[in-house]
């Protein structure tokens, strides 16, 4: 870790091959070692989860996949993930549908639209949103966002109620529902997706952009033909990071959502639940067996994340050659 003056470094670059071989092998092994270490940690966690889940599943009296209620510490342990899986996926879906376009828009705004003087501080401000702890999001959500969602919810019920999904069946209840949770999660993942997309857009080869403009493209056409295709894998990766947070968010959801064990497609009705929220709510009072059951639900969340990520990897893999810039 000694800093050497550039001249010396230049001199060293011309040194014998064996020297660089040694450096190469040290560096290679170091980075591979990190990869292996990471792998071991992750595998250990997965193994740990699988082990605990196995204990739980062997004693479940209900069907783990289709049961609605969560009552593993009852004399007859009955627990299932139907409601949790549904709630997790729906709320994360709502969050992504809102957050990804908006985040890409903001990232474009910062990288291509805003005057530099606005762009820099604004980029910084968006990053700041990532720094807000989830408990603050939760408190803000229940004290500020939920009351403000009242009108919007009633409105959606009135004009979009025919879609069934946006039909509100209970009158006069506070909108502590999956839809509000989705919006809150969207706000929470926005900075993550924005930050990564923004960095990706900044790396777009200038040549591509200028070539497009030189051909008479409008700014939008330039973005559509040069920026977005280049940034697509990055956007997907960023979205996956955001999705990871949306799926695993605990405290904010636990504070905002009026959880119950009813599976309802009416996303404006209070109710439902998510994996992480359920773990947080049930963990404190859980008996050892109850904890195992919660681990099993954590494992399912693992699998869901994996499937989504796998799909994303497939999309990205189509343009595997990352030689970003054949400029």
């Amino acid at each position: 870790m000694t800093s050497s003056p550039p001249a010396a470094a230049r001199g060293r670059a011309r040194r014998s091959r064996s020297d660089s071989r040694l450096g190469d092998s040290i560096f290679f092994n170091l980075s591979r070692g990190s990869g292996i270490l990471l792998l071991v940690i992750m595998a250990a966690i997965a193994g740990f989860l699988a082990y605990r889940s196995g204990i739980a599943l062997s004693k479940d009296e209900g069907n783990f996949l289709t049961t609605f209620e969560w009552n593993p510490d009852a004399p007859k342990p009955v627990f299932g993930i139907a409601v949790l899986a549904f709630g997790t996926i729906v709320s994360a879906l709502i969050a992504m549908v809102i957050a990804v376009p908006v985040a890409v828009g903001i990232a474009l705004f910062i990288s291509h639209y805003a005057p530099r003087r606005i762009a820099q501080p604004f980029a910084y401000l968006v990053d700041l949103l990532a720094a807000v702890p989830s408990i603050v999001y939760g408190l803000w959500g229940v004290l500020f966002l939920v009351p403000h969602m009242d009108g919007l919810t009633a409105w959606m019920d009135q004009y979009l109620g025919w879609t069934y999904v946006f039909d509100q069946t209970q009158a006069g209840v506070t909108p502590r529902n999956l839809f509000t949770v989705g919006i809150l999660l969207a706000i929470m993942v926005l900075p993550i997706i924005t930050a990564v997309s923004r960095e990706v857009f900044r790396q777009v080869p200038r040549m591509h952009e200028e070539a497009a403009l030189a051909l008479g493209a409008t700014r939008w056409e330039m973005i559509r033909t040069a920026v977005l295709p280049f940034g697509r894998p990055g956007i997907i990766s960023a979205s996956m990071l955001g999705l990871g947070r949306a799926l695993g968010e605990t405290i904010a959801v636990a504070i905002v959502l009026s959880a119950n064990s009813v599976l309802s497609l009416h996303v404006l009705d209070p109710g439902g639940g998510t994996f992480a929220q359920n773990i947080a709510l049930k963990f404190n009072e859980a008996q050892p067996f109850g904890r195992d059951a919660l681990m099993a639900s954590g494992l399912v969340l693992f699998v869901i994340t994996l499937l989504v990520n796998g799909a994303a990897r497939l999309i990205i893999a189509r343009r595997k050659e990352y030689s970003g810039a054949n400029a």
Partner: protein, 378 residues
């Protein structure tokens, strides 16, 4: 070596941060007794230092029930002010978590709102060399049924009505069953927003325990930490529930008395079958505690509470939190502090100190039984 220089820069910054935090350590202080806005326990007179017999000092770890967190908070402030050598840390992670931590030998005592189950007692024998875990009742509390209805300040309910409200069988405030209990009160023609705990909790267990005994069969579910009733909305923790009752008109829920007090929520009186409805006050709950029987054997003082009580002025929905310790085989290095801390908490001064915070001081007779056990801990 650009990056390596980066690396060393980062290291330097890390080092600076460390040094910074250490120098920060110099400017921060644990001493809250002299701060202008701070009210230290000793200054507020919660407990004169003379009444507290300090132990050898050191670190004492406890964990568990969140229902007693605020009581322990008061105690450790008073104890810490008197005994500067001792640091008591109570991690309120919930009763279930507390008991598990105790049985893993990670904490010296656990707070729990239910007595140890036989399996847990067996497990505790691993940690308590030559002994086992025992329950010492320490914090009395009551659960008030809180409501938020405009222009209604007094509300009387009974077991069956509460059960039906929380099970969505009674859905309007002007339902004949409620009106019959509240003659002369103008109840609104509005849907009832029943709010229950979304997390598992001892509070729910005690309420449903009451409903199972005193609702005349209207509550068809067993007593459980997990909410089983139909319909209604839910919120996380007593704090979340209180916030919802405050926010939502025509709502009803159940929280510990301290939460009802700090959030200025209106509590319903309970018609137990006594000559007049019983208000949710600490004094009325103390009456119930004085009738409680001890279910434990030996030094184990687990209580059995009579939810179906019909005594005059006895509030039926009460809860007690135990401190769970080893009768023999406590950790040697913290045993002394543990004993002196528990001696203080069950003393008159200790019990009175939490009485002002929405808890129920245990009746003298019961307290003296606990006081007799503490010196025998080893």
């Amino acid at each position: 070596m650009k990056l390596q220089r980066n690396g060393s820069k980062a290291l330097a910054i890390g080092a600076m941060a460390l040094v910074g935090s250490l120098s920060l350590a110099a400017c921060g202080t644990d001493d809250n007794s002299t701060s202008s806005s701070g009210t230290s326990a000793a200054a507020s007179g919660a407990a004169p230092a003379a009444q507290i017999a300090c132990g050898k000092g050191g670190q004492l770890l406890g964990a568990g029930s969140t229902a007693q967190t605020n009581a322990v908070d008061v105690w450790k402030a008073a104890f810490g002010s008197a005994c500067s050598g001792s640091t008591i840390t109570y991690g309120g992670g919930g009763s279930g978590a507390g008991v598990q931590q105790f049985n893993q030998g990670k904490v010296a005592f656990a707070g729990s709102d239910s007595a140890l189950k036989p399996a847990e007692v067996d497990a505790s024998k691993q940690v308590c060399a030559g002994g086992q875990g025992i329950n010492l009742p320490m914090v009395g509390g009551l659960i008030s049924v809180v409501f938020n209805i405009d222009k209604v300040d007094k509300l009387v309910l009974d077991g069956p009505t509460i059960a039906k409200i929380f099970d969505s069988q009674i859905t309007k405030w002007n339902d004949p069953a409620i009106a019959a209990l509240n003659p002369g009160v103008a109840l609104p023609d509005a849907p009832i927003q029943a709010i229950h705990r979304s997390d598992d909790s001892g509070t729910t267990a005690n309420l449903t325990g009451y409903l199972a005994k005193a609702s005349g069969g209207a509550w068809t579910y067993p007593a459980s930490k997990t909410w089983a009733g139909k319909g209604g909305q839910s919120a996380n923790g007593s704090a979340g529930v209180s916030a919802q009752v405050k926010q939502v008109k025509n709502s009803i829920s159940y929280v510990e008395l301290s939460y009802a007090q700090t959030n200025s929520l209106k509590s319903a009186a309970i018609n137990t079958g006594a000559s007049k409805p019983v208000d949710a006050t600490a004094a009325n709950a103390a009456t119930t505690f004085s009738k409680a029987k001890i279910a434990g054997t030996g030094s184990d003082l687990a209580l059995s509470l009579d939810y179906a009580t019909k005594d005059e002025g006895a509030y039926p929905i009460v809860l007690v939190t135990y401190e769970i310790v080893c009768d023999k085989g406590n950790k040697a290095d913290s045993l002394d502090t543990l004993k002196s801390f528990l001696t203080y908490t069950i003393s008159d001064a200790g019990q009175q100190a939490i009485g002002a915070k929405g808890y129920v001081p245990l009746p003298k007779e019961l307290a003296s039984k606990v006081q007799a056990v503490i010196p025998t801990l080893a």
